[in-house]
Symmetry: C2
Subunit: 570 residues, 2 copies
């Protein structure tokens, strides 16, 4: 792979791209475009922006990711989680629907893009690993539930505010009296149709005699049919005149950022939100990309993914839209439509552009309630109780972490929940490593293998004690090891040699070095020599020339068996 | 040890306490009291409180620690670092010298005491381990330097504010014109005398013919002589009339907390400062106690230390004083005076009480400049460049951590510096564990020992690949391992068996379990069986019944050697 190919991964797949591929991808893109439009509109609404902004967010970002991203399947555009995080980040600063609100959302997309590029440049992608499985699971379940509750106002046709459980419910309760009956009936129709069509559309298509390939291509397009039918119903019955909310007239130009409405101070205040949107979006995107790459035996490069998604977000800001990323449902749709290369991203962008230029009047009668129904149904799949059950069996502590994250998200909001989750998982890990396990080991008879005296029948010696250190040696446990080793030696009065078996020591830092050196010197005073065995290469490299080796009273043995053989023969 | 003895450690040493011990300890206490009084006054001044408060802080806390603490040597009272941290915590809320200021300092001592007891109750003492050696070293050096710079105003006899480098220097520069010449001359005299007497007082005592034992007992009391001489000079020349600052009349009652001047909101705002003072004080105290315990082959119990110091701080609050802890220089002095049991702490408290009751007029002419000189000289020993040099050789990264902590303390203050240091050291550690080392290993010929193919001449097999995982498996590196294992397998086309050698795996969490399970299933699809070898007891306990073992395509081997023997024979 050339350097240029590394930075512009599109060159790799463009090299082998044929006319036949283009034909195939065009069909896939056409189907995908039709299916993805309602989703994009819905997620823009979730972000508190005019639904049409969702289409702006699907053009330039998609093209830029196709050129700079490394996944062959990922579809980039508005995504539920980042959209709702955008809404909760912008709401404290502006009223939804205002020019001010749109400007801040654009700023957020821009900041998110810059963050992704900076993370790539500084190779800080590892920060995203700090979100552990329980935290992500609790976060997604709670967010999905909050999103669904947030859609109820569209189903009832009432005004309502709030972005955490209690304000949401209080506000809904206060407004429930004003429920708009036509809207509620339409909502029930939408939800029921979506659920039914999802289940039976494939059967129906087969029943009317379509060939299997066509059925496979279109069986997931059921929602589009419901959208079209609902829009027709609204148009024919003029339900908009009765107060059913519709998309209405769409402005012909995209929103642009009004620099007078934003300030440095605002950018500073948005920093934490922008950072969290970035991280959540990136993790979601990479995990989808990775699972498809594994299925198709392809590779993705997380660092280049940061670049691809970063440029996509800057593209979104330039289009007057909001933060985007690679989405799960979007990508599944893309793969199901038969996408084989990132070219579909480019063709889809072109088709959505055409839609924006010529087809916006079609959306006039599209009711917001169908979008809310689409959102709710797709979110309901993300709430996973099975995950909690499985985790509970494996580790109660991690299951509690999931529950805490879930609750904090529900009651305090998504950002706080995420931060609390990350801090707690780091603290749990540090707690674990700072309460390290040490084992006195002996030889498994007839082998050169040494195991814990408490779990195996092994051979030991009264004058030689071998302690296996079951943790990295670093600041969080340095003092604990110091205490443990000293109390161990004080219990064995005959002791002449203490062998530290270092199979599990992968790193040693200055704090631990200092503690160990103290132990070695103190034990030497007490007539006990300290030896090391099975020190790993990278650790040994660091120890050479350090005060620990200079002051070591004993030897460093390559293997534990050599240590015991030599020390017991003396 | 009985339960009562565990909670009231004084019972242990009181059991064997003889009259002869009491005689010995009384002499030691008398000498110690004389020597520790100037220090106590100085540190109260550092805390921004009337110097005499330092004596109040030395009575009840000392008695309570003697009864509830576990160190036989530790001397508890005002300490430089916590005193200056107290000053910088209280200054934003009140003017030094006001009743308001004293009330907040008392509140701080109380909060610190409660924190220590809570830490003990929740067994959260491990949190103090999060301060790594480089962070502590950088923090102490910078704080000591800031303290010294903060004393310059006393030497010049000017007013000046600020608690970080730039405000301190600007303020000093602005006021330098008003330097008070008599004060400056007296300061130079104090510093010079202290330095000279420290060096030559022992020789002088020997020279005038005192017996060696007496010389040993008194050679460290040089500063007391300088204090007495300076006070006499001030009194005889009436320097206080010329504007030299002296302690003056001491109020006969201790300060008490004025509850009208404090509020819940203030307590909340003080929380972070109180917590940091607690942690810093505790770490300093425990490390001094531990080094003396090791020297004297005694034990200390960190959890009971939390109780002892917690009660000492509550005692300090009840005495109208400020946060206290076990101090380094205080303890050295105590040991040098010949203290052999905590009884010295009790006797000293009694002697200081007598001083407060009857001897305060003696302090009238004591100039503040001598206290500033004592502080500066004792702080200068804490600035350690050697530490940085040694660290630099061992690890550039940790040396940078020291430098960053030092600089942040100098420019942004002690608390920010400490927090930045801790966060960076945790991030460094997480960065390290999330960039784990894995090694392909082979058999060292003629042994049952398996080592890295890149460092040793070892035997390997084309169809069996053994990978030693050199890190705990947890959320921060789960995805990285997933990627590494997959790319490794994709490079070895003949592969039939992948053995994961788990000698260095001490824990596995749900995130890692999920990743590993994914790898196992994917590799099974590709015709590669995954085996585990040398899984440790605690890890195996967690794996039993998990999805990983259920879906494992291969076996779990007790030893790596058994795995290779069996798999290569097939």
């Amino acid at each position: 792979m050339t350097t240029l190919e590394k930075y512009l991964p599109a060159l790799v797949w463009l090299k082998d791209y044929r006319v036949a591929d283009l034909k195939h991808d065009s069909v896939a893109s056409l189907v995908f475009t039709i299916m993805v439009i309602p989703q994009s509109l819905a997620y823009a609404m979730l972000a508190g922006l005019p639904a049409i902004t969702g289409l702006y967010a699907s053009i330039l970002p998609s093209v830029l990711y196709s050129l700079f991203g490394t996944s062959r399947t990922l579809a980039v555009g508005p995504v539920a989680l980042t959209s709702v995080m955008t809404a909760s980040a912008v709401l404290p600063f502006a009223v939804s629907g205002s020019e001010h609100y749109a400007s801040i959302a654009i700023l957020l997309a821009f900041m998110s893009g810059v963050f992704l590029l900076v993370l790539s440049f500084l190779r800080l992608g590892f920060l995203t690993n700090l979100l552990s499985h329980p935290v992500i699971s609790g976060f997604i379940s709670a967010s999905a539930l909050l999103i669904i509750i947030g859609q109820i106002k569209y189903f009832l046709g009432v005004e309502s505010q709030g972005d955490t459980l209690i304000p949401l419910m209080t506000s809904l309760y206060a407004h429930a009296d004003h429920t708009h009956l036509p809207t509620l009936l339409l909502s029930i129709f939408c939800i029921a149709s979506l659920l039914l069509i999802k289940r039976y559309f494939g059967h129906f298509l087969t029943f009317i005699g379509l060939p299997t390939a066509t059925v496979k291509l279109f069986e997931k397009s059921g929602p589009v049919v419901v959208v079209v039918v609902t829009t027709l119903i609204v148009a024919i019955l003029s339900l908009d005149q009765m107060g059913v909310a519709v998309i209405g007239t769409v402005p012909t130009t995209p929103p642009t950022i009004n620099l007078d409405l934003i300030s440095w101070q605002m950018a500073r205040d948005l920093l934490p939100s922008a950072f969290l949107i970035t991280i959540v979006g990136f993790i979601g995107s990479v995990s989808v990309a990775q699972s498809y790459a594994a299925k198709r035996r392809q590779d993705i490069d997380p660092n280049q993914e940061l670049v691809g998604l970063g440029l996509a977000n800057i593209g979104s800001a330039l289009s007057g839209a909001f933060p985007v990323t690679g989405g799960f449902s979007r990508t599944v749709l893309n793969a199901d439509c038969g996408s084989k290369s990132p070219m579909t991203g480019i063709i889809t962008a072109f088709l959505i552009l055409l839609t924006l230029l010529f087809l916006t009047p079609v959306f006039y009668y599209l009711p917001t309630t169908i979008l809310a129904a689409i959102i709710s149904i797709s979110m309901s799949k993300l709430i996973s109780v099975a995950d909690l059950k499985e985790l509970w069996q494996f580790s109660k502590k991690e299951a509690c972490l999931l529950i805490v994250t879930f609750c904090v998200v529900m009651f305090e909001g998504m950002e706080t929940g995420l931060i609390v989750g990350v801090v707690l998982s780091i603290l749990f890990f540090l707690w674990h490593t700072s309460h390290p396990h040490i084992a006195i080991v002996g030889r498994v008879p007839g082998t050169e293998h040494y195991r814990n005296v408490q779990r195996f029948e092994v051979e030991t010696h009264s004058k030689v004690l071998t302690v296996r250190i079951d943790e990295n040696l670093f600041f969080a446990n340095a003092r604990v090891f110091e205490e443990k080793l000293q109390s161990l030696v004080s219990q064995n009065k005959d002791l002449q040699h203490l062998v530290l078996m270092c199979t599990a020591v992968n790193m040693i830092d200055a704090s631990a070095l200092q503690s160990l050196e103290k132990v070695v010197v103190r034990l030497a005073d007490a007539g006990v020599k300290v030896h090391l065995s099975e020190v790993k290469g990278p650790v040994m490299d660091k120890l050479i020339g350090s005060i620990l080796l200079t002051n070591l009273s004993g030897k460093v043995f390559l293997t534990q068996h050599q240590a015991i053989t030599e020390l017991t023969q003396q």
